[in-house]
């Protein structure tokens, strides 16, 4: 009886060991796709490790695709056209319109490279680079917005268009076991190529903003990649309307630096929305831009000034000020940066006033 029991246990153990071995073998053979060729824009051949998500495989070759979620398929930014990528996964479907699906667009974080692929990447992304930097300075702009100044180390300079953004890498720390990337607009002067400034607002429970506000120190090494984005000043003679709120100040400030250097003569109105006096920042810098750009006017507006603010400026939401200040739109271009609610409300209002949608440019935090 005992012998039969021991034999049964032995047989079971042997079967388990065999199955485990088979799994290891399968992982090493079936799951091993070896090196796979990826053809980029029909002219550049990359050899990548098969089995990896396309986003990660491209990053190893210094091809950076925008992604704000670190490859979880939750930001929908890393779309690429893949000629022979097959049908999208169910995790991608919420992000892809029927037209995109028909055109072979895939989320590169969800597509694993298992066979040779032919992909199309927007040309401007090919100039995106990875940067090593050091925190040169941290400054509280308000109680919940921090200015982060990064000195570039490798490479030591960056070229970007005022209005573009970078992806800041948050290393693993208490709130995250893995690196996380978040997109932030560059606030600094594009001519100041050796460093960049970011304006980062604290978001409750936010992995990156908690890291920046509670953990990041001057002198810390950091990494980011960029620049990205098509939110930049278009060349024209039209009047300019800037509208922003909170950290939406950042790309507009970069554009103002550019305009000041170019002595841009375009008539420009900048409406900045905040709740109370304590939410306003960089007022002196804006007044300095008014001195340097004679046709530039800065109008901060408070939606709920505190009784002791002593506020005598504009009040109401940014849309109230747009309603009051903007009457003629035939020679106007609008640049908006802030919350989706603010942008949607402004776009609707400007369209109602007759401004064609193609002359409204925005950077939505969405």
């Amino acid at each position: 009886m005992l012998t039969a029991f021991l034999i049964s246990v032995g047989v079971l153990c042997a079967i388990n060991t065999l199955l485990a071995l088979l799994m290891v073998l399968a992982e090493a053979t079936i799951g091993n796709y070896g090196s796979v060729r990826v053809t980029l824009n029909g002219r550049r051949e990359l050899t990548v490790d098969g089995g990896k998500p396309l986003l990660a495989a491209l990053k190893e070759h210094n091809v950076f695709i925008p992604s704000a979620c670190g490859g979880r398929g939750s930001c929908g930014l890393c779309k690429l056209t893949v000629e022979n990528g097959g049908a999208p996964l169910s995790t991608e479907l919420p992000w892809l319109s029927p037209e995109e699906q028909a055109a072979g667009v895939r989320l590169s974080c969800q597509l694993k490279v298992k066979r040779p692929l032919r992909i199309t990447v927007p040309e401007e992304w090919l100039s995106v680079r990875q940067f090593a930097a050091r925190v040169a300075a941290l400054r509280d702009l308000t109680y919940d917005i921090k200015e982060v100044r990064l000195q570039l180390i490798d490479p030591p300079t960056i070229d970007f268009k005022a209005g573009q953004f970078i992806q800041f890498e948050v290393p693993p720390y208490a709130l995250s076991d893995e690196p996380v990337y978040r997109a932030y607009s560059i606030a600094s002067d594009p001519r100041q190529r050796g460093e960049i400034e970011l304006e980062i607002r604290y978001v409750p429970n936010g992995i990156c903003t908690t890291y920046v506000h509670r953990h990041l120190k001057e002198g810390d090494p950091v990494a980011f990649n960029g620049p990205y984005g098509n939110f930049y000043l278009r060349e024209s003679d039209r009047d300019i309307l800037f509208v922003a709120g909170g950290s939406g100040m950042a790309p507009i400030k970069a554009m103002l630096h550019q305009m000041a250097h170019e002595q841009n003569p375009r008539r420009t109105l900048y409406i900045f929305g905040a709740r109370a006096r304590r939410d306003l920042f960089l007022l002196e810098e804006m007044r300095e831009f008014e001195r340097r750009l004679p046709r530039f006017r800065f109008v901060p507006t408070l939606s709920a000034p505190a009784p002791n603010d002593g506020w005598t400026g504009a009040t109401g939401l940014v849309t109230d000020v747009v309603e009051r200040e903007v009457s003629e739109v035939s020679a106007l271009e609008a640049y908006l940066c802030g919350s989706p609610l603010m942008i949607d409300a402004c776009v609707n209002l400007l369209k109602k006033k007759g401004l064609p949608e193609e002359r409204i440019f925005y950077d939505k935090f969405a």
Binding site: A68, C69, G70, R72, G73, S74, C75, G76, T91, L93, P94, W95, L175, S176, D177, E178, V180, R182, A183, V203, P204, N205, G206, I207, G245, G246, G273, A274, R275, D279, S303, A304, L317, V318, T319, G338, S339, P340, L341, M342, A345, F365, A366
Partner: protein
């Protein structure tokens, strides 16, 4: 509740690193089915329903959105800010569509207490009775929601009219 294979799959999607870096369960070691049962019971003890709680959250979020991202006063004594961050999240239960990463910050000025919830929280409560696991950063405890958002218990159902009554 029996932990079905479907619930197992959903619970995997709720782990850190799957949909969000921190996941939906916090340090809660319980099976998803048990979490749902416990919160269902808590909601009943409060005399509420998931629909009523989600409805109140939706109502305050809609009122707060009139501030276009800035905190705005909502009668009788709330201050609500609807803040958006980049990105959208899918429902871990597999519902179609994605939910914007919108934080609704509600401050009850009478009690001085505050709670933060998201568009996805509202959906998870309304559609699945899921309030997230204990210790999850976006856990919306039913009793805390009821207290801060001042959600009154369901009115008792009127007795059904007798059949055949005129």
């Amino acid at each position: 509740m029996k932990q079905t294979p479907q619930l197992e799959a959903i619970q995997r999607a709720m782990q850190p690193g799957a949909i969000t870096a921190e996941g939906f369960l916090g340090a809660d070691p319980r099976p998803l089915g048990d979490i749902l049962i416990a919160d269902e019971a808590a909601v009943r003890r409060l005399g509420l329903s998931h629909a009523r709680i989600a409805g109140r959250m939706r109502e305050l979020a809609a009122a707060g959105s009139r501030g276009l991202g800035l905190p705005t006063a909502v009668p009788p004594h709330f201050e609500v800010a609807v803040e958006s961050v980049r990105g959208k999240l899918p429902c871990p239960f597999g519902h179609a569509g994605v939910y914007p990463k919108t934080n609704v910050v509600v401050r009850n000025l009478a009690s001085g207490r505050q709670i933060v919830f998201t568009d996805l929280n509202i959906h998870l409560i309304a559609a699945h009775g899921f309030y997230e696991g204990l210790g999850s950063p976006f856990r919306c405890d039913p009793a805390t929601l009821a207290e801060i958002l001042e959600i009154a218990p369901e009115p008792p159902e009127a007795p059904a009219a007798a059949a055949g009554a005129l």
